[in-house]
């Protein structure tokens, strides 16, 4: 069984301050948005990180049953992803990076093209599907959503392009014999467990396992000279331009003002504070429920 995990490297949104968000919102285009977030550190998309660790645990669990599993990881994006790819190589993934800019683009062009993909899930999905094909993946494993757009549609659109079924909001994956997997996921009406058989697309959601293990220095050294396979969109036969043109156009972004009155309720003790809160603000509201 060959599993390919697609992941995205994003700016750490939590490291951005209000002024940075104002800059992101004021940016005229994808390039400006990428520029406004370029100074913060990069992180794995949270669901992508969970998908990567679930893949490793699945490999380990299958190995306990004497079953071989091939692991590959790929990303669509610029050189930002290099340290992340190196970590994944050390953990045993074959790694592939797709440069969405196409051709021997400069880093800036790549960043711009990657930024344009942020709100174009169909274009991203076309590249993701092409990677899955390139890697011969029986299972395409993705994070349920992530990045600036966070549409949650990439797994479905990639599945559509591949002609495969897709299960999202996956919370656990276990081996079930040589060719099947038992997946737990959240359906509209609650958590479900079912058997699935490749080829399929699985998108990981709020899994209990959410953090990627860390390779040792020795494991890193062992893959120090192993190159990451690189492709352009054109190499994979994907015309990103067409998909980008079809994407919804982002007209504006605005910081969300979540401020409220913030009236301060005082009291010398917790009992007094609770009484002031209850009598002054909550009692009538609760009685009206």
């Amino acid at each position: 069984m060959r599993i390919a995990v697609g992941f995205k490297v994003t700016p750490d949104f939590e490291a951005l301050r209000a002024a940075d968000w104002a800059r992101v919102a004021a940016a005229a285009d994808a390039e400006g948005r990428a520029q406004a977030t370029r100074y913060v550190r990069r992180v794995f998309g949270v669901f992508d990180e969970a998908a990567l660790e679930l893949a490793l645990r699945l490999r380990d669990a299958r190995a306990d049953d004497g079953l071989p599993t091939g692991l590959a990881a790929f990303t669509v994006g610029g050189p930002d992803a290099s340290p992340f790819l190196h970590t994944l190589q050390a953990l045993g993934f074959d790694c592939l990076r797709v440069d969405p800019g196409g051709g021997p683009a400069s880093a800036a062009d790549t960043a711009e093209a990657a930024g344009a993909l942020d709100f174009a899930p169909a274009a991203t999905a076309a590249l993701v599907a092409a990677c899955a094909r390139q890697l011969g993946a029986d299972i395409l494993l993705l994070g349920e959503r992530g990045g600036p757009g966070g549409s949650g549609t990439v797994p479905f659109l990639a599945a559509e392009a591949l002609g495969r079924p897709c299960v999202t909001c996956v919370t656990a994956i276990e081996p079930a014999g040589a060719d099947r997997l038992r997946v737990s996921f959240r359906a509209d009406d609650g958590p479900v467990r079912a058997l699935t058989a490749p080829p399929c697309v699985l998108a990981v959601g709020n899994a209990v396992v959410s953090m990627l293990r860390v390779p040792t220095l020795k494991e890193r050294l062992a893959v120090r000279d192993v190159p990451v396979t690189q492709f352009t969109a054109a190499d994979l036969g994907v015309d990103v331009g067409v998909a980008l043109d079809r994407a919804p156009a982002v007209r504006s972004l605005e910081p969300v003002d979540r401020s409220r009155a913030g009236i301060v309720v005082t009291g010398a003790t917790a009992a007094e504070q609770a009484r002031a809160l209850y009598e002054g603000h909550l009692r009538a509201r609760l009685e009206a429920l």
Binding site: R17, R38, Y39, V40, E53, H86, R213, L217
Partner: protein, 480 residues
């Protein structure tokens, strides 16, 4: 004959009343360790002696009453405030200890903008004080990573240092006076003056005593103008630490006082700066602050110095500013870190030392290489220098390892202590200090005689004089 656990609790209740004596078993167990053995709390496997009680006195007289009683009955007392200790200073070395928690003494006594000083009780969180003095356009100038959580009492007790120390100094340069209570119940106040030459400076008996001599109830610290609009940030990438140390030295010798002056080795830089530094790059960074002319002159002077080193490649200052804005660790980050350890069993530890300019690079290189060679399961071994002086600098070793084949409670013995041991050996060999700013705690206490040499007589005399019955934080600074 030592008191039973029940008798200890009874005695404390008699002094402070039942509300000020915490005996909830769960709370006590969690307080049997600090961050030195944090995996015991993260994985909930506790093997240390459990304290008998936690007491929360509300003034110096109550502190004195408890200490007098403990001194009479030989009960070990562990002073504590914010609880961010990393070196075992707060863990229970002996059964049935009493943790004296000063966090209920949390009043800001006075902010005096004219005389540029603020007086607070020991349990005031530094962040709270900083926020209050900022309302006056002032700052404490003290900004350890633990700022959101740590309290003033503990910061003074451990000789804390902040991220802006190169300009403002360590806490020892900030404390102008204080109040402390000794085991015999003596309440001592050192008045607040700009300087004195009336004999030895006895503030230093209290600052850094780590609760092994006395309990700090109140401190007065200096204040400085807060002028963030003048902050300037500078950053470079470079190929080796030796050059980095050399630039830091030239900046210090040149008489410049940047608030932040750091050089990161490739491993440590990879944690913070991989979005602009290549995997083998070191990162050199500075922040200049203060009055506009001073900040400008400082930044210009540093620029001129680094420009003489063509092997340094300048990076946009926004990278450094963004890093700077996300420096401190609040409770949310601590929780996320704990969860990461729980899931991945990958643990981050740090050990900080200091040495003169001639030795620092050798210590760094030797300790780093030995740790990589001798310790299993290392996932990152690096560090940075973050506090520089005219005669030398510190090295903050920062390292990660996977805990493999042992229980979480054995992490300290299998990995952490052996690594500390290597760093300490390499430092002592070259005449450095084995502790730059976290305190000795119980982690590095075994090397106290090596650290002090012939001056250990002076240190030991402080202990035997002020705490003759040895009831103050047994095992801290002075090994059992």
């Amino acid at each position: 004959m030592s008191l039973s656990r029940e008798a200890i609790v009874e005695g404390l209740r008699g002094i402070l009343g039942p509300e000020a004596v915490v005996t909830d078993e769960r709370v006590l167990v969690e307080n049997s360790v600090d961050n030195f053995r944090k995996l015991q709390n993260i994985f909930d496997v506790h093997v240390m002696p459990v304290p008998a009680a936690i007491v929360t006195p509300t003034n110096a007289r109550e502190v004195a009453a408890v200490l007098t009683w403990a001194n009479e009955h030989g009960v070990n007392v562990i002073p504590k405030t914010g609880g961010t200790a990393t070196e075992g200073g707060l863990e229970s070395a002996v059964p049935d200890s009493v943790i004296m928690d000063g966090s209920a003494m949390n009043e800001i006594v006075k902010i005096d903008p004219y005389n540029m000083q603020a007086t607070v009780q020991c349990g005031v969180p530094l962040q709270v004080l900083e926020d209050r003095v900022r309302e006056h356009g002032l700052t404490t100038g003290h900004s350890p990573q633990s700022k959101p959580v740590a309290h003033l009492g503990g910061l003074v007790a451990t000789r804390s240092i902040g991220q802006f120390s190169t300009l403002y100094g360590g806490i020892e340069d900030m404390v102008v006076g204080l109040e402390a209570v000794f085991p015999n119940g003596e309440i001592c106040r050192i008045k607040n003056v700009p300087r004195r030459a009336a004999g030895p400076d006895i503030r230093h008996i209290v600052i850094g005593n780590e609760g092994a001599l006395c309990f700090i109830t109140e401190v007065t610290v200096k204040l400085f103008p807060y002028l963030p609009e003048n902050n300037r940030f500078l950053g470079w990438t470079l190929m080796d630490m030796k050059t980095g140390f050399e630039v830091l030295r030239e900046v210090m010798v040149g008489g410049y006082k940047p608030s932040v002056a750091r050089v990161y080795d490739p491993g440590d830089a990879g944690l913070h700066f991989s979005h602009f530094a290549a995997p083998d790059d070191c990162v050199l960074l500075f922040m200049a602050e203060g009055a506009e002319g001073i900040a400008k002159a400082t930044a210009d002077g540093i620029q001129a110095i680094v420009d003489r080193h063509p092997e340094c490649t300048q990076v946009p200052s926004e990278y450094i500013e963004t890093w700077f804005n996300d420096l401190c660790w609040g409770p949310d980050k601590i929780l996320a870190e704990d969860e990461r350890i729980r899931q991945t069993r990958n643990v981050n530890r740090t050990t900080e030392i200091s040495a003169d300019w001639s030795s620092i690079n050798d210590i760094y290189q030797a300790a780093r290489q030995r740790i990589i060679d001798e310790i299993p399961d290392i996932t990152m071994m690096g560090g940075h220098s973050s506090h520089s002086y005219i005669n030398g600098t510190n090295m903050y070793f920062n390292y990660f390892f996977n805990v493999v084949d042992v229980g979480p409670e054995e992490e300290t013995e299998k990995y952490y202590l052996p690594i500390i041991s290597i760093i300490v050996e390499e430092t002592l060999k070259r005449g450095g200090s084995i502790v730059h700013h976290h305190g000795m705690g119980k982690a590095r206490a075994p090397w106290v005689r090596d650290e002090y040499g012939s001056s250990y007589y002076m240190l030991e005399t402080l202990k035997t004089s002020f705490d003759p019955n040895g009831i103050m934080n047994k095992g801290t600074i002075f090994p059992i």
